[in-house]
């Protein structure tokens, strides 16, 4: 599903280059549930952005479903994001002026068009059918994150990327979110990559990849 070959990423910092990723090689199979762990600044979010086609690597190759995507244009990358990838963010990133349902529909908008019925189904899967017309500000943090998961889910992507999905939640809501994500993974066979520094969450995964200073340090299979 995902093959990163010798990926590097560096940013210009004044006159010098700041290297965030120093040659990452990583394979994730279809249907896997993988955790990326590491201290802040280890490059785990950068990897997630690269996998999510939000960013391009400085060098190296990235094969997504056996297609080399690291050199595609921004329009082609947007197309891949719209069809293949669902994002779940730490800060939920819902549009505050839209209802929960409209936020979920937004997830399909750039993937071929809205369909309120499918959006309602997605909300039902995260247990929020009765909150469809509430705005994000009227929902708890856990509920907002569930709306965000429904938004990622609604276009049936093969890959969901979650960046610290429980980072802004209390432990009970966090567990709920994790159980929703693991259920999606086991029931629908979605490939799931979760960035976290919460060990208890990482232990729900099949494989944990530890990062440090832009390098893969260890991989443990659970």
């Amino acid at each position: 599903m995902i093959r990163l070959e010798g990926i590097t990423k560096s940013y210009p910092m004044g006159k010098r280059e700041l290297t965030v990723l120093g040659g990452i090689t990583l394979h994730i199979e279809k249907g896997e549930l993988v955790a990326l762990m590491g201290p802040s600044g280890s490059g785990k979010s950068t990897i997630l952005n690269l996998i999510g086609c939000l960013d391009k690597p400085t060098s190296g190759s990235y094969y997504l479903e056996d297609r080399e995507v690291s050199q595609l244009s921004s329009g082609e990358l947007a197309m891949i994001r719209s069809r293949k990838i669902g994002f779940v963010f730490q800060t939920f990133n819902l549009l505050p002026r839209l209802s929960a349902l409209a936020n979920v529909e937004l997830g399909m908008k750039y993937a071929g068009g809205s369909d309120p019925k499918r959006a309602l189904d997605a909300l039902a899967k995260v247990g929020l059918s009765d909150r469809a017309n509430h705005r994000p500000t009227e929902l708890s943090g856990g509920e907002q994150q569930r709306v965000a998961i429904a938004r990622a889910l609604v276009k049936n992507p093969p890959l969901i990327l979650a960046d610290e999905p429980t980072g802004n939640l209390d432990s009970r809501s966090g567990e709920e979110i994790i159980s929703i994500l693991t259920t999606l993974h086991s029931e629908q066979g979605i490939t799931l990559v979760v960035v976290t520094h919460d060990v208890s969450i990482a232990h729900h995964c099949q494989r944990i990849i530890h990062l440090m200073d832009g390098q893969v340090v260890t991989e443990e299979t659970l």
Binding site: N49, L54, S74, A78, L94, L98
Partner: protein, 409 residues
């Protein structure tokens, strides 16, 4: 929902979310478009009323006036020399395609009626003048051929002259002193309004009577000098031919060398009308341009708001991009929003401009005329302004890096 409707509904949400802000932005465009329509309708109205006045002068009228003469390299004013004579008029009358020729001689004379007196221009004319100048009698009659032949001391007055000299009293049959002679008023003309070359201020007496009041000067060759020769063309399509014929006839009669300029000036109503309508068109355009500046300012307002809106919604743009929006999607969203603001402003502006111009018209300050081309111009300019000033903010938005946009507060 239909696919093409989606960007529209997104733009609509963007507009209604900030009601006050959208309202103020639209207001800028409303004022601009309204001003363009109002001011241009004033220009168009003036143009139309002047053209109507010229039509009322008779569209087949040609006037010959003495022209500027060169003496020692100094050109005098048009009409400043006495080159036209009664004999010229008689010669012109023999040309083809001419239905009537009316020479006139004008002079300023002191008029006295009872206690009232005024100095006014008196025109000595032939009976043909009435039909040539398209004059209409409101009261009494114009003088006849018989009265003209015997030099009857009778006068026909314009409506405003009558008002000044006689007030509300009936002037017909009244006497008035005109220089050294005393004339009877036999007719009053219909008012044509205070317009170009209005007969309202005119006083007409037979040219034969005029010769008794003031000595009509003679040219060195013994021709009796006239101030102007008016004539009507029987076939309007021949107007240019007639002008050419008169020109060559007068050049021959005045013995002008082939290198010399004409010592007379020929104007047709058509020419006057086209000159005036050109002038008025320029005026209309100028008024429109002045109002256009406020439209431009409104457009800059739209751009300002859109830039703020993009900045404020950076995170939203990041989210949309993460969800798979292409640059074109983002670009289109903001452009449609800007176009919507200016289009709404344009529509409301048309209504306001139209209402204001109707009000100006109905309180009688000025004649106004809202023509379709003004409306089309105002709306298309307002939409173009929306697209033009919306383009840069929209382009800015589409170029945002999704990762940085997602990090924005």
């Amino acid at each position: 929902m239909k696919k093409w409707l989606e960007p529209l509904s997104t733009a609509w949400v963007g507009v209604v979310t900030h009601k006050l802000r959208s309202f103020l932005t639209i207001l800028g465009i409303v004022i601009g478009v309204g001003a363009v329509i109002t001011l241009m309708s004033v220009g168009r109205g003036a143009e139309a009323s002047i053209l109507t006045n010229i039509q009322s002068m008779g569209s087949n009228l040609i006037t010959v006036r003495p022209g500027a003469s060169m003496s020692g390299g100094v050109r005098s004013a048009i009409g400043g020399v006495n080159t036209l004579t009664m004999e010229d008029a008689e010669a012109i009358a023999k040309l083809s395609n001419i239905s009537a020729v009316a020479p006139s001689y004008s002079s300023n004379l002191q008029l006295v009626v009872g206690g009232e007196n005024m100095n006014s221009q008196v025109s000595g004319v032939t009976p043909e003048y009435m039909s040539v100048d398209n004059l209409k009698i409101a009261n009494g009659a114009f003088f006849s051929d018989y009265e003209y032949q015997r030099g009857a001391k009778v006068a026909v007055l314009g409506s405003s002259v009558t008002e000044t000299l006689f007030g509300s009293a009936n002037p017909i049959g009244q006497q008035m002193r005109m220089g050294t002679i005393i004339v009877h008023v036999i007719g009053v003309l219909e008012s044509k309004g205070s317009t170009f070359n209005s007969p309202d201020d005119a006083i007409f007496i037979p040219l034969t009577a005029m010769q008794q009041a003031v000595a009509q000067p003679l040219t060195p060759q013994g021709g009796r000098i006239v101030s102007a020769i008016a004539l009507t063309v029987s076939d309007e399509s021949q107007t240019q031919n007639v002008i050419d014929n008169i020109t060559s006839l007068l050049r021959t009669r005045h013995r002008l060398a082939s290198s010399a300029d004409n010592d007379f000036n020929i104007m047709s109503t058509e020419e006057i009308a086209s000159t005036l309508s050109q002038t008025m068109g320029t005026l209309t355009l100028l008024l429109g341009a002045i109002a256009g500046i406020s439209l431009l300012v409104g457009g800059i307002g739209v751009m300002n708001i859109m830039l703020v809106s993009v900045l404020e919604r950076t995170r939203e743009i990041g989210i949309r991009k993460a969800l798979g929006a292409r640059e074109r999607d983002i670009w289109l969203q903001f452009l449609i929003e800007a176009a919507f603001l200016t289009f709404a402003g344009g529509i409301i502006g048309i209504i306001c401009g139209w209402v204001v111009s109707k009000i100006i018209d109905s309180i009688g300050v000025m004649t106004t005329l809202v023509t379709p081309d003004i409306v089309i111009l105002a709306v298309s300019v307002s939409i173009c302004i929306g697209l033009f000033f919306g383009f840069y903010p929209a382009w800015n938005a589409s170029r945002l890096n999704p990762i940085e946009a997602l990090r924005a507060e």
